[in-house]
C-alpha cells in the first residue's frame, strides 16, 4: 500500500467505511511509515473534534423555507 492510498483508507476508517482487508493493509503500512502514522493521528484528532463540537446544520427544508422568506421579502422591496 502506498501513502496516498493509506490516506484514503484512513479517511474511510474514520467513517467506519473501510473494509477489513483495507484496514489490515493500512496497519501494515503504518508499521513502517512514520508520515502516515502522523496523518492518521491528526485524522483521528479531527474526527474527535467534530464529535466534541456537536456541530449542527440546518436541514435542507429549513434552508429552503428561509430562502423563500428572504426571496419574498426582496420581491416586496423591489
Amino acid at each position: 500500500m502506498k501513502c496516498d492510498k493509506a490516506g484514503y483508507v484512513s479517511d474511510k476508517a474514520q467513517y467506519l467505511d473501510a473494509y477489513f482487508w483495507e484496514k489490515i493493509k493500512l496497519y501494515m503500512h503504518l508499521f513502517f511509515c512514520e508520515f502516515c502514522r502522523e496523518y492518521v493521528k491528526n485524522n483521528t484528532k479531527l474526527s474527535e473534534a467534530f464529535v466534541r463540537s456537536d456541530l449542527k446544520t440546518m436541514t435542507h427544508n429549513d434552508k429552503q423555507k428561509l430562502k423563500k422568506t428572504l426571496y419574498e421579502e426582496m420581491l416586496k422591496e423591489n
Binding site: G7, Y8, D11, K12, Q14, Y15, D17, N42, N43, K45, L46, A49, F50, R52, S53, D54, L55, K56, T57, M58, D62, K63, L66, K67, T69, L70, E73, M74, E77
Partner: protein, 188 residues
C-alpha cells in the same frame, strides 16, 4: 467616482442562507438552546438585515454585520422571555422523604455545572470548525458536511451529487486535510 478600499465588503442577500445559515445556527443554539427558536431568530436576522442593508458601510464582513444584528435579536428574545411575569417555573421532583435526603447532595454535585466549562469550550470549537468550513470550496464543503456532520451514507451522497465513491473519497480526503490545517492554525 469614489474609489473603494480593497477591504470594502459587500452584501449579497441571495447567498446569505447558503453562506451563513449554518454558522449562525450554531452561534444561536449555543445561546438559546432551542433549535426552533434559533431558526426563528436567524430568519428575523436576515429580514432585519435586508431592511437595513442601506446602513451597511462595508467596513465589517457580511457575517460580522449579520452577527451584530443577531446579537440584538437574541437580547430582545431574552428581554421578552423575562418580561413574561408570573410564568417562571420551579420544578420540584421530590415528593417522598427518602428522595428528599438526596436533594442537597445532588445540587452540590450538579454535573451540568461541573461540565459547563467543557461545554463552552466545545461550543467554541464548533464555531471554529464552522469558520474553517468556509475555507473549503462550495461543493467540497457540502459533501464534507453531508458525510461528516449529517453522517449520511456514502451511496446516498454519491447519488445526490452524481459522483462516484472514489470521487467522494478524494473530495473528503482533500477537505479533511484542509480542515486539519485550518484547525491547527486556529484551534489545536
Amino acid at each position: 467616482m469614489k474609489s473603494l478600499s480593497p477591504s470594502t465588503h459587500y452584501l449579497n442577500p441571495n447567498l446569505w442562507v447558503d453562506k451563513h445559515s449554518d454558522y449562525l445556527f450554531n452561534y444561536t443554539i449555543i445561546r438559546v438552546s432551542d433549535p426552533e427558536i434559533a431558526k426563528d431568530l436567524i430568519s428575523e436576522t436576515f429580514l432585519a438585515g435586508l431592511k437595513s442593508k442601506g446602513n451597511f458601510k462595508g467596513k465589517a464582513s457580511e457575517r460580522t454585520w449579520l452577527i451584530a444584528i443577531l446579537k440584538r435579536k437574541i437580547i430582545d428574545y431574552y428581554r421578552k422571555v423575562n418580561s413574561k411575569k408570573g410564568k417562571s417555573e420551579v420544578r420540584i421532583n421530590y415528593f417522598d422523604k427518602e428522595s428528599e435526603i438526596n436533594w442537597l447532595e445532588e445540587k452540590v454535585s450538579d454535573p451540568y455545572l461541573k461540565n459547563a466549562e467543557d461545554r463552552i469550550k466545545n461550543q467554541e470549537l464548533g464555531l471554529a470548525i464552522s469558520a474553517c468550513l468556509d475555507t473549503l470550496k462550495e461543493k467540497q464543503a457540502q459533501i464534507f458536511i453531508r458525510k461528516t456532520i449529517d453522517q449520511i451514507e456514502t451511496e446516498t451522497i454519491c447519488k445526490e451529487f452524481n459522483i462516484s465513491a472514489s470521487n467522494l473519497w478524494v473530495i473528503i480526503h482533500r477537505a479533511r486535510k484542509e480542515m486539519a490545517r485550518c484547525l491547527k492554525e486556529n484551534w489545536f
